[in-house]
Amino acid sequence: MASNAITVKLLIWRQSGPTAAGQLVPFTLENVLPEMSFLEMLDLLNEKLVREGTDPVAIDSDCREGICGTCGLVINGIAHGPNSGAATCEVRMRSFRDGETIVIEPFRAASFPVIKDLVVDRAAFDRIMAAGGYVSINTGSAPEANAIPVQRASAETAMDAASCIGCAACVAACPNASASLFTSAKISQYALLPQGRTEAGRRVVRMVEAMDAEGFGNCSNHGECEAVCPKEISIFNIGRMRREYLKAVL
């Protein structure tokens, strides 16, 4: 065993299915190396549980480098844990002390039913996108790429908004479970680009309606979403979404 290994006490949300009751269950895990990622620590736990004949903890993850948005855990009360600008998979165990208790819960919201343990169903986000998160252009009908000049500054700001990974940390962190940061990031990307202007009004109205229909709460400017966002998407986008909405309906 490596000399710098630590032991952590885990309190993990376990829930066998969407309608079952859940609870926090304690585990102790030894031999955790500081350079391990948080998910590698959970892999280690699950290997141990399988060997002991205990049902492993359900988690989902994929790229493990902070870009796919699959993983998402509330760690010690903070969506994606202690590091700012990082997703759960980017958190390393060097952020925790030997003997520390770590509470691990799913991204909760009424619109995200729990599938099992730490895995939630975020299909509501896809439905918001289907309501208008696109430019209506068919394959094969595009003009020459440089025929649409875009100011570098607009392209950069659009890119900042487009960096959203759709992980839903913003919803999990919001006291109102609002999806405003997520929705506004997409609306902003297109609002800032000439390609997106043509259908800007229809887009914002439909996406905001879809967001409400999915049961997400309203934004009341807490700013928790921006604080936990692994891509540091700015809350200014929510302001831009409101302006776009007013422009469209007034």
């Binding site: 299915g17 796919c68 299909a123 696109y134 000049p149 659009a158």
Partner: protein, 651 residues
């Protein structure tokens, strides 16, 4: 028009595969072919169902485009949202022959670079079409609102990637794959809204259903509930990505797998060039056995970073204190023409060679430096941060070291698989009606893929090729009405139920991860960056032993009717254990070095890969012969009428 069914009969009867490349001058092939295609009338398209498996660049773009055309599309992916396909992780960029930099680029040059980069093991006609379509892709993506990097004048910016001497790579910071995929995803969501595409996320395809010799549907498991269902269609388009995780550790997302391709292989689709794998030169070195994946540092870093190792094996000084004369910039010295931007296979092998000579750095000795000191002096820290900031942050996050003040340590890692299901010019496999696009097919990259060309290929296949050829197939073959009530569906479904039951019933002592890790070690040691006959033979028997152990002693917990990640993974690992063996067989059979496939027995005096065109200028396509027999190999001879095969020189 060729007769599809007789073509399939040919493929199995003789050992020469017919790629069905149309006749004519290469510049006009695709246009002329499209003009000759049969069409389905707009009002009739919704009566035809097309299954698209996968929502990466290939699947997302194919499903969206087929939907726009009016087909009834069923789209599947294993992640909880189509937006999370592994393509999202691509960093560096996408190539196109726009020649916006006025540096002598052209469709022909992109074609030439790709054929040469692939070490003359790809099909010229396909590569030419790819180069032509590259420009349409950029137009399409810009129109979708993909926020590519731009110059101050508002036009698109470019940078360069390995193996070429022009700047033709388009990019969106270090998140090009994300932005292109979100573009395809947006087009897909628009079709979901329009009702042409039905999305089945969190569904894993576990079998292909073949009726009367044609691909007519799939069996899929709902990963949330465990429910197993069948779906029928007139054609199936497989866009399920590559199989690098056969090495366990790779740069791929942890759910990337070969299962869909492998199950199709077992239903009659030949698997081409399985041994062609790309080991990417710039990854964060392995640190311990607990690791679940390796992290890629984008190739774009080699634009400004300099690769070196200490000249002396007994060097102990920290890198910053090692003076210039004691540093070996081995790529710049050996390949002055391309320097740090040689193609990936060459850069990876060179890193391995200097480490094998004892010059490697870091605690394991299996790493080389990638140094930005000179770039920071030349360009300033801010410019370097502007170009690579997110990559530097990522490196810092993982290693707790600051690449602005000391060089990165990097080492090659499995990254991309050029091999895949064999397809003809239509991207149709040897099972009529089964089309394969993106990394899942054996593709246009020959024995080595150049950087920034996988994104290009996935989107060319998905936006432009497959929608046209699938339409043509449907118009031409007029598929008979088939529903999931056909007995072939029930048979396939019950086979999958049995597999699930079997995996859960073994209740042995070895975890799935342990066994997968062991497979990865066998593959990396023997079927990795350098291969030889004795190692490959050993690998084949070791894999067979491991497979036996798997089926005797694996421990898959849980039940079939719930979210069960271990069960999902177990089935994928079982397939990797079969695929790994066929990769080793293919590598053994190919007694030459080409691109990423390096046989120790076939090298020049300077240690460069030595091809054997007389005996191996062909695609090797393997046909499944049942669980107890070795697969047989078919060949597709390759012809080079435009780019004369030469010794690939980057000096």
């Amino acid at each position: 028009m060729n007769d599809v069914t007789s073509q399939a009969a040919d493929a199995t009867a003789s050992s020469v595969l017919n790629s069905r490349v149309p006749e004519g001058p290469i510049e006009d092939l695709w246009d002329n072919y499209q003009a000759s295609m049969k069409l389905v009338a707009p009002a009739n398209r919704r009566k035809h169902t097309v299954i698209v498996v996968g929502t990466g660049l290939a699947g997302g773009s194919a499903a969206a485009t087929l939907g726009e055309m009016g087909y009834n599309v069923l789209n599947f992916c294993i992640s909880d949202s189509p937006r999370r396909a592994h393509s999202i992780a691509a960093q560096g960029g996408i190539n196109a022959a726009k020649n916006y930099r006025n540096d002598g680029d052209s469709i022909y040059r992109l074609f030439y670079d790709t054929v040469k980069g692939g070490d003359f093991r790809s099909r010229e006609a396909n590569v030419y079409r790819l180069a032509q379509l590259s420009n349409n892709i950029i137009d399409q993506c810009v129109s979708q609102g993909v926020p590519f990097a731009r110059e101050y004048g508002g036009t698109l910016a470019n940078r360069s990637f390995g193996g070429v001497q022009v700047e033709r790579t388009f990019y969106a910071r270090g998140q090009t794959g994300q932005q292109l995929l979100l573009g395809a995803y947006s087009a897909l969501m628009r079709q979901v809204d329009a009702g042409t595409v039905t999305m089945h996320a969190h569904h894993e395809m576990l079998d292909l259903v073949v009726v009367d010799g044609q691909a007519r549907g799939i069996v899929a498991r709902d990963l949330n509930t465990g429910e197993i269902r069948t779906f029928a269609a007139d054609a199936v388009v497989l866009c399920t990505g590559g199989y690098s995780p056969v090495f366990f550790l790779s740069t791929n997302a942890v759910n990337c797998n070969a299962t869909a391709s492998w199950r199709c292989y077992k239903r009659g689709a030949h698997f081409a060039n399985p041994c062609y794998t790309q080991i990417h030169p710039t990854c964060i070195p392995q640190a311990g056995d607990y690791q679940s994946k390796l992290t890629l540092m984008s190739e774009s870093l080699r634009n400004d970073g300099r690769v070196w190792v200490p000249r002396n094996a007994d060097e102990t000084r920290p890198p910053a204190q090692i003076p210039e004369e004691d540093r070996l910039y081995y790529l710049e010295e050996t390949y002055p023409g391309f320097g740090n931007l040689v193609p990936r296979d060459i850069a990876s092998r060179a890193a391995k060679q200097v480490c094998d000579r004892g010059l490697g750095v870091g605690t394991s000795g299996f790493a080389v430096y990638l140094d930005f000191e000179e770039a920071i002096q030349r360009l300033g820290r801010d410019t370097v941060a502007g170009r690579y900031g997110n990559l530097f942050d990522m490196y810092h996050e993982i290693t707790a070291e600051d690449p602005y003040s000391s060089p990165m340590r990097i080492y090659p890692a499995p990254h991309y698989t050029m091999g895949g299901l064999w397809v003809d010019y239509d991207l149709m496999s040897t099972v009529p009606g089964l089309f394969v696009a993106g990394e899942a097919n054996f593709s246009d990259h020959g024995a080595n893929r150049l950087g920034a060309s996988a994104l290009m290929q996935g989107l060319a296949d998905g936006y432009f090729v497959v929608p046209a050829t699938v339409s043509n197939y449907i118009a031409d073959t007029k598929p008979a009405a088939v529903t999931t009530a056909a007995p072939e569906f029930a048979a396939a479904e019950s086979g999958i139920r049995d597999d699930v039951k079997k995996l859960l019933s073994i209740k042995g002592k070895r975890t799935v991860r342990e066994l997968w890790w062991e497979l990865g070690r066998i593959m990396w040691d023997n079927v990795g960056m350098a291969r030889n006959a004795s190692g490959l033979e050993a690998a084949i028997s070791e894999i067979q032993g491991l497979r036996e152990e798997f089926w005797k002693d694996v421990n898959v917990p849980g039940t079939p009717d719930e979210w069960n990640k271990m069960l999902e993974t177990a089935a994928r690992v079982a397939d990797f254990m079969e695929l790994g063996e066929v990769m080793a067989r293919d590598a053994l059979e190919r007694r030459e070095s080409c691109g990423g496939h390096f046989r120790d027995e076939s090298q020049s005096a300077e240690g460069e890969a030595q091809r054997n065109d007389a005996d191996f200028q062909h695609v090797s396509a393997w046909e499944y012969k049942g669980p107890d027999s070795a697969p047989t190999m078919h060949k597709e001879p390759l012809h080079f009428d435009h780019v004369k095969p030469g010794t690939r020189s980057y000096k």
